[in-house]
Symmetry: C2
Subunit: 335 residues, 2 copies
Amino acid sequence: MVTLKQLSKELNVSISTVSKALNNSEEIGEETIKRVKELAELYNYKPNKVALSLKNNKTKTIGVIIPNILSRFLAKVLFGIEREATKHGYNIITCISNESLEKEKESLQLLANGSVDGFILSVSEETQINNDVSHFKKTINNGLPIVMFDRVAHDVMCDKVIVDDFDATYNATKNLILEKRKQIVFISNINTLSVGKLRERGYNKAILESGNLKPLVLKIKKKEDHQKKIKAFFKKNPSIDGIVAADSSSGIIALNTAINFGLKVPKDISVIAFASKSDSNHTLPKLTTIRQHAKLIGANAAQMLIHRMQQANKEEDVKTKIVKTSLVKSKSTLR
Amino acid sequence: MVTLKQLSKELNVSISTVSKALNNSEEIGEETIKRVKELAELYNYKPNKVALSLKNNKTKTIGVIIPNILSRFLAKVLFGIEREATKHGYNIITCISNESLEKEKESLQLLANGSVDGFILSVSEETQINNDVSHFKKTINNGLPIVMFDRVAHDVMCDKVIVDDFDATYNATKNLILEKRKQIVFISNINTLSVGKLRERGYNKAILESGNLKPLVLKIKKKEDHQKKIKAFFKKNPSIDGIVAADSSSGIIALNTAINFGLKVPKDISVIAFASKSDSNHTLPKLTTIRQHAKLIGANAAQMLIHRMQQANKEEDVKTKIVKTSLVKSKSTLR
DNA sequence: GTGAAAGCGCTAACAA
DNA sequence: TTGTTAGCGCTTTCAC
């Protein structure tokens, strides 16, 4: 990489002249500016990012910590963050906590050494189970803003972007009730997560409100064989005619299992799941989905963080933005 | 963030003394070291990463440019890269080219300003179609090493990690031939990519070698409705009894479509696809898959890059590492 | 209109 | 054993 020093030497002017010329300073003569710019162009000069960061005490970099890159939802949020960040001239450094509290702490620590100007993160499963939020508070106290999305720690004062999880399953379940479904099941493999619990509550409320229906819930642990569990559940409960799934995996497997059992979807049984468009396109019939608008969530989180980082008044009140889900009806439900 | 300067002031010693003490220099007295370390601990001192980068002319950061974060394969590779990088004390800055040549160029340019020490990337679709590799060569000439994975540009001299695409489909097809399948189809929605073409060739070779079978290929474009296309194809070719899919999407939809048409899998028709374990777990019967070992690919790429970056002799010969796929047989094939 | 010098935070050669 | 100084690449104030 060519530096100002090298340019200045070659041009027989001082470093500061070159710097000013490249920044179109009024102080510098037209002729000099031209000469400098030409040589800079020739050598493809780019100001050294690290030097600028040191000088400005700003890295223009956002630290992103996500629990699991293999989740389509989280990957999509990351995409949204990246796009928005790039638009504003920010880079993103990505760390994957792998649902581990320890790794989350480490990543936060590691990047809080001047590598980034702020964080966007979704809380790891272990962190939620242990309810340990000290590392977040410490980071914020150190002057590095955090924006949390999806899985958030409510006790931490920071900007947040969340989904209307409760309403989403409430509405989805209502929808199945309107279809006159009699045995609606809630299936989840994320019931240790805050969002998983909210989704279950939304389902329960709708069932209870119906008056005559009984809740039936299948919780699957991460390590269990999902297909086996769901198959067994179907066998044990042959009267199931409606499914609300808290995650795409459960939804897809439930749908395929129903078909495998000779049920017609949606004639005999309806299925709704938190899932993406591409998930929906992969099942037959296409899955009716609760969409979380992951990209939008990411974009919102990035916007909020960038806004806060550029804020002179660091003490501005924290905000929580709710990105509403959409129930996108497709072929796995009647209406 | 607390700095050496602040510590030194509080301790009434010079900055360099503090620096040396923290680095356990022999020069500094035991007592001083203790005092310094205690205060550093108290203030949670962390050396400023940016200052170190400037000093050492090394960022300990890897730029990763992937075409599409929503691809499970690429996300998994990213995971592998992140893990390996973290293990060696490197961070990763992620850019998503979104299959665009322009964005790829931009990202490369942007990060080549001192932000990263090297790159790991998979070439974007547009880049492969236009066969434009000048930006890669320029970056390498600027002294920034590149490691390419999966979709690589063969004309660029750099380290590479690739998959045995040709052999993979050749073997998969052979496998179906051994099952006595008579009309084996190759389905792909990635036929504009280098890897897609290789996969098709592997299939073709196996078919031709069989002597009596005829190749039948369905190419799907990104924007087309995959389900519609595949359904129509099944209708037009009712004798299909074997499928080799170059991508998970085609494989999953083909399998589900077959079932929807009343075919028994694998009795009436076998399906093999490039796909992940989780894809396999989502179909019923479980999909027989060609596994690419994405995490391993990522880890290998990171290792190669880190090795090269730490190499004194920058001119060491470039290497190409092949990570062999595995044909993982499951319930969608006979044997 | 141009240049010298300081400073961002750190390390290390050299001086004391 | 501790301190001074220079330098990484850049911007900016101030002097010429």
